[in-house]
């Protein structure tokens, strides 16, 4: 048996206490131990961004984060956006602008877009494109995703 450790953290506003193997990644913890399957597994190695979550307010790849390192931190996943009224405009924009096709990349895109707009509510298209560099989409061709994020940015163009 591999070594385990009990950790406590805040997940989407609620306290969580779990015991995890010390070498487990946070994506496995979320999907397989906590049954929160909104965060997607695309590559498991930091390339696709489908697993993007917010850790203490900044975006990271859950697949590259040791689950034990969640101890004491605040995590937000795409499920957390559902209960957060501030994110309604972003969610609606993805729908209205056609930023969702198969939907596999969408949770990661929404989380990264949340990060971008939190860092810079006035992000312009170029800043949005650069901010989304770590998120792959096989369907949309990106334009409609950028349109969606740009439509909720305060930047006027």
């Amino acid at each position: 048996m591999s070594l385990t450790r009990e950790i406590n953290f805040t997940l989407n506003g609620s306290p969580v206490k779990v015991t995890v193997p010390v070498t487990m990644n946070t994506l496995t913890l979320l999907r397989e131990q906590l049954n929160l399957t909104g965060t997607k597994y695309g590559c498991g190695e930091g390339e696709c961004g489908a697993c993007t979550i917010l850790m203490d307010g900044v975006s990271v790849n859950a697949c590259l984060m040791f689950a034990v390192d969640c101890d004491g931190r605040q995590l937000t996943t795409v499920e957390g956006l559902l209960t957060d009224c501030d994110s309604d405009p972003l969610r609606n924009a993805f729908v209205e602008k056609g930023g969702v096709q198969c939907g596999f990349c969408s949770p990661g895109m929404m989380m990264q877009a949340t990060h971008i707009l939190k860092q810079n509510p006035n992000a312009d298209r170029e800043q949005i494109q650069r901010g989304l560099e770590g998120n792959l989409c096989r369907c949309t061709g990106y334009k409609k995703i950028v349109d969606a994020v740009a439509s909720v940015s305060k930047h006027e163009d």
Binding site: V22, G46, C63
Partner: protein
């Protein structure tokens, strides 16, 4: 990743070096390299990511000190780095993706010792020193002496990389970094190059040149540096230096490029960077 027997989160640097003194430790910073290296090399996994003493960027006297667990994002966004060390700022701007920059640390980039590590090239050009602390003492060594082989450094098992010290460049210092890959983001460098020096009378004095991904370690290109010495940066001078650069490197074929292609890239990028420097 099975034989971890203990997980430690030291609360101070003294505690961390005491754990290291007991031997057989895998050090965890951002984890962006470590997570994918399935065979953790030690019985203890030690998480240093929240060690206060290892965070932060300060200018004191003529030295800029960057704590080992400072993230790539913090360096990219630091006005101090942008003002005093624009070549390091530039290298962090084209590093992986936002998510990886938010997690990955400069200490992890250095200790991972990949020949393609993006911060290593500007740090070689800037003649940085690495600060290593053990339970017994602290030493500083030039970063050019730190790399031994891919993934291998002169860090002793009982030592922790605690910070990077970078001398503030002299008046008139100019430097340039170029990373060549197949796409603008999330790309491990096919080759990278950094050149810096003091531009005087169309010559680059006290020049420093470093190349990434063309040797087993990030390379301080001493022959190219010698070729720059007293060479006027006109068309012929730049050509002579670019040829010396191509002759100096001895890259390998791999999935990203052939050895021949890498040598041509080094030649062409050296020429491009020197033209940029000459025009500043």
């Amino acid at each position: 990743m099975t034989d971890i027997q203990s997980y430690q989160v030291p609360a101070s640097l003294a505690e961390a070096t005491a754990i290291l003194a007991n031997g057989d430790v895998s050090i965890l910073a951002g984890g962006t390299d470590l997570m994918l290296q399935k065979n953790l090399h030690g019985g203890t996994l030690m998480n240093i990511r929240r060690l206060e003493e290892l965070h932060g960027i300060q200018l004191s006297g003529n030295t800029i000190r960057i704590g080992a667990v400072t993230t790539i994002t913090k360096i990219l966004e630091s006005p101090l780095i942008e003002k005093h060390l624009p070549i390091l700022h530039e290298a962090t701007n084209h590093f992986a993706s936002v998510q990886i920059r938010n997690a990955g640390t400069i200490g992890g980039n250095i200790c991972n010792a990949s020949p393609a590590g993006d911060t290593l090239i500007p740090l070689l050009v800037l003649d940085a020193q690495v600060e290593l602390a053990s339970a017994a003492d602290t030493r500083l060594i030039p970063i050019a002496d730190f790399f031994i082989a891919p993934g291998k450094t002169s860090r002793e098992p009982g030592e922790l990389l605690t910070a990077i010290h970078i001398p503030q460049p002299a008046e008139g210092f100019v430097a340039c970094f170029e990373k060549f890959g197949s796409r603008p983001a999330l790309d491990i460098s096919t080759v990278s190059i950094g050149i810096g020096g003091i531009l005087q009378d169309s010559k680059l004095q006290a020049a420093r040149v470093a190349f990434g991904a063309v040797a087993p370690i990030p390379l301080l290109a001493k022959k190219t540096m010698a070729a720059i010495e007293n060479q006027t940066l006109d068309v012929d001078g730049i050509q002579t230096i670019a040829t010396a650069a191509r002759d100096e490197v001895n890259p390998i074929d791999d999935v990203r490029a052939s050895a021949w292609y890498r040598k041509e890239l080094i030649h062409n990028l050296t020429r491009k960077v020197l033209q940029n420097v000459a025009n500043t």
